[in-house]
């Protein structure tokens, strides 16, 4: 009475399973890309006569060598910076031609006329730490983004996304051309309502 040998397992389909897994991973993994805060430097050519800007349209932020913040001549903690910047940008204190009909601020006559005129001036010391500088930049960009999000939601209630999400979709290389063409006018409109005017002064030398 001969015992039957156990039949060999058919491994022919193993390759198929392997390829299935391979394709699954190929599709689901995204290669990690770097991200950060984009900035544009001013060109070097000297402006012959710089335009006169009213003091009330400038929001000065100074970071000293001990990484402390002086905002509009007052000491401030960084956690309050975003709100202060929003209050300044959204003030809309202008009269007549310079009035801002979409601003929701206090319309304080000692603060900015309208977002188009409002300039944030950032000045840092040579010994300011880069970390704090990035934190300040982050909060100032956040102030603009918060305002743009608000206006974007008001103008496009059907879009189903915020300004920042729309911007991300727009700059994503995987988005289709038609989607980009659709988003561009919407984004540009909001951008022109709150243009990002962030000026950086030459740093002060430490005494």
């Amino acid at each position: 009475m001969a015992k039957r040998a156990a039949p060999e397992v058919n491994a022919g389909s193993m390759a198929d399973i392997a390829f299935l897994l391979l394709i699954f991973f190929l599709v689901t993994t995204t290669i990690e890309t770097d991200s950060g805060i984009n900035r544009k430097l001013p060109p070097t050519d000297e402006v012959v006569d710089p335009p006169v800007i009213k003091q009330r349209n400038i929001f000065t932020v100074v970071v000293n060598k001990d990484n402390r913040l002086l905002v509009e001549e007052e000491l401030m903690d960084i956690s309050e910076l975003r709100e202060a910047a929003i209050a300044f940008l959204d003030n809309g204190g202008g009269q007549g031609e310079e009035a801002c009909d979409y601003c929701k601020g206090k319309r304080d006559t000692s603060s900015s006329d309208n977002p188009e005129k409002a300039i944030i001036s950032l000045k840092n010391d040579r010994e300011t730490s880069y970390k704090v500088y990035i934190a300040v930049q982050n909060e100032l960009v956040a102030a603009y983004n918060d305002l743009r999000d608000r206006e974007f939601a008001l103008l496009n209630p059907m879009a189903g996304m915020t300004y920042t999400e729309a911007q991300k979709r727009y700059s994503d290389p995987r988005s289709t051309a038609t989607e980009k063409a659709k988003l561009k006018p919407l984004l540009d409109e909001v951008k022109s309502m709150y243009p990002q005017k962030l000026s950086e002064a030459e740093p002060s030398k430490t005494n």
Binding site: A6, T29, G36, R39, D125, Y130, K131, I134
Partner: protein, 160 residues
């Protein structure tokens, strides 16, 4: 005669290893695809600051990288503890930045030369003086699009 015949089928048959190459190739492909190549070895400390209002960096071929920070580990004996700039695989001075940018720009395709972004990968502990100097150099050669590369996180991680 058949008294000493070997008993047949007593042990299990060997498992087929025919699919092993497939599995190995699969892993190989997976890692080939998922790995990000770093084109230069880091010689400086590089713990990036955190930010959350960030935008993704452009495609890789449109970016040039400038690293800065304190020389790391084995380089600190030779180069000291002051923050330095690293371009490609070498330590550099502020004066070398302009030449580096021009060389990078010349190495790219014609249509990309105007859309290049400079990614500043700077250690959080660096003083702003160095970064300002780099920025002035970049302005001189008209490389105006910059990106402060950060990691994703709340800004409060940067304080203290």
């Amino acid at each position: 005669m058949s008294k000493f015949k070997k008993k047949k089928g007593g042990e299990l048959p060997a498992i087929s290893t025919a699919s092993l190459p497939d599995i190995v190739f699969m892993l190989l492909f997976f890692f080939m695809v998922a790995t990000v190549m770093r084109d230069s070895t880091l010689m400086v400390q590089n713990s990036l600051p955190a930010a959350d209002q960030i935008q993704k960096l452009d495609k890789k071929d449109r970016v040039m990288y400038i690293y800065a920070g304190k020389p790391s580990g084995r380089y600190s004996d030779k180069y000291g503890s002051q923050a330095r700039i690293q371009l490609n695989d070498k330590f550099a001075d502020v004066g070398d930045v302009a030449a580096f940018v021009l060389a990078e720009r010349a190495s790219k395709r014609q249509e990309l030369q105007n859309v290049l972004t400079t990614a500043l990968k700077v250690d959080g502990e660096t003083n702003m003086g160095l970064i300002t100097d780099i920025k002035q150099e970049l302005r001189k050669v008209n490389a105006l699009k910059i990106n402060y590369t950060t990691r994703v996180g709340d800004y409060t991680q940067n304080i203290n």
